[in-house]
């Protein structure tokens, strides 16, 4: 299943850029069972990074306890309206997705 795009909002205020992202991902824990009692294999984002102007502004590692369709918000100094913020994630199946948004 192809991953859906992330929703990213970035806004700059007083020299600090706030990024809010909503990532579309199942985040299956590997602990649930289906109707037949078989365990649904774990499927979750393990790594995530955010870039601004070619510089990493946040890198994260997720476990299975992060909610389905993860939400993430963080702030970094710098950034100007029109700059691009890029988010990339990688899941435990090796799938990755990158999306970018302009700072508004």
């Amino acid at each position: 299943m192809a991953a859906k795009p992330m929703k990213i909002r970035a806004s700059v205020k007083d020299g600090v850029t706030e990024v809010k992202a909503l990532i579309s991902h199942e985040m299956e824990t590997g602990q649930r069972k289906d109707a037949n009692g078989a365990i649904i294999p774990a499927w979750f984002i393990t790594e995530l990074s955010a870039m601004h102007n070619g510089k990493v502004v946040l890198s994260g590692e997720f476990g299975t306890a992060v909610s389905k369709n993860p939400y993430l918000a963080f702030k970094f100094k710098g950034g100007a309206a029109g700059d691009k913020v890029t988010l990339t994630w990688k899941d435990n199946k090796g799938e990755t997705r990158t999306d970018e948004a302009a700072i508004g």
């Binding site: 602990q31 294999p41 393990t46 790594e47 994260g60 909610s67 993860p70 963080f74 899941d91």
Partner: protein, 155 residues
């Protein structure tokens, strides 16, 4: 069926099953990731997780805060954040004591990124939530209990 699932979570057998799956190679793709701190994320107890993160004895600090609700109605989506006013904060992590695997997420903060990260986590039951922060090479911690009225590891 649903009750059984709750019991599995309570007794911690769920975590064992996950471990067994890992051992059987069923979820190997994730294990191939070099950067992902497997030991820390698979550790079951708080103590083991802290050890895997290299933070055996974090110090409680008032400069670190766990943000989140006092009561979460839906354990599947609990908004949790970590803020730290300590200078030189380079890492923040969210740990949930009573989850099958304590570590929920960790973030590395380069210079210029504020120690203020919000996300949403799943909680199986009422538990203490810990914010672990690394600042200037030392580990600090803050705690908040979040009550869960409906467990969040199922659907």
């Amino acid at each position: 069926m649903n009750n059984q699932r709750r019991n599995v979570l309570k007794t911690g057998v769920g975590a064992t099953v996950l471990g067994a799956l890992t051992a059987a190679g069923l979820i190997t793709p994730g294990m191939a990731l070099a950067d992902w701190n497997k030991a820390a994320f698979e550790a079951k107890s708080m103590a083991d997780t802290l050890k895997a993160l290299g933070a055996a004895t974090p110090v409680d600090s008032k400069d670190v805060q766990v943000t989140g609700p006092d009561i979460a109605e839906n354990g599947a989506v609990v908004p949790v954040g970590v803020t730290s006013s300590l200078a030189g904060t380079t890492m923040v992590a969210i740990l949930i004591d009573k989850n099958p695997n304590a570590l929920a997420a960790s973030f590395t903060l380069p210079a210029g990124t504020e120690a203020n990260v919000q996300t949403r986590v799943k909680m199986g039951q009422t538990s203490n939530v810990y914010a672990l922060v690394k600042a200037d090479g030392k580990f600090y911690m803050a705690t908040k209990e979040i009550k869960v009225t409906l467990g969040g590891c199922g659907g």
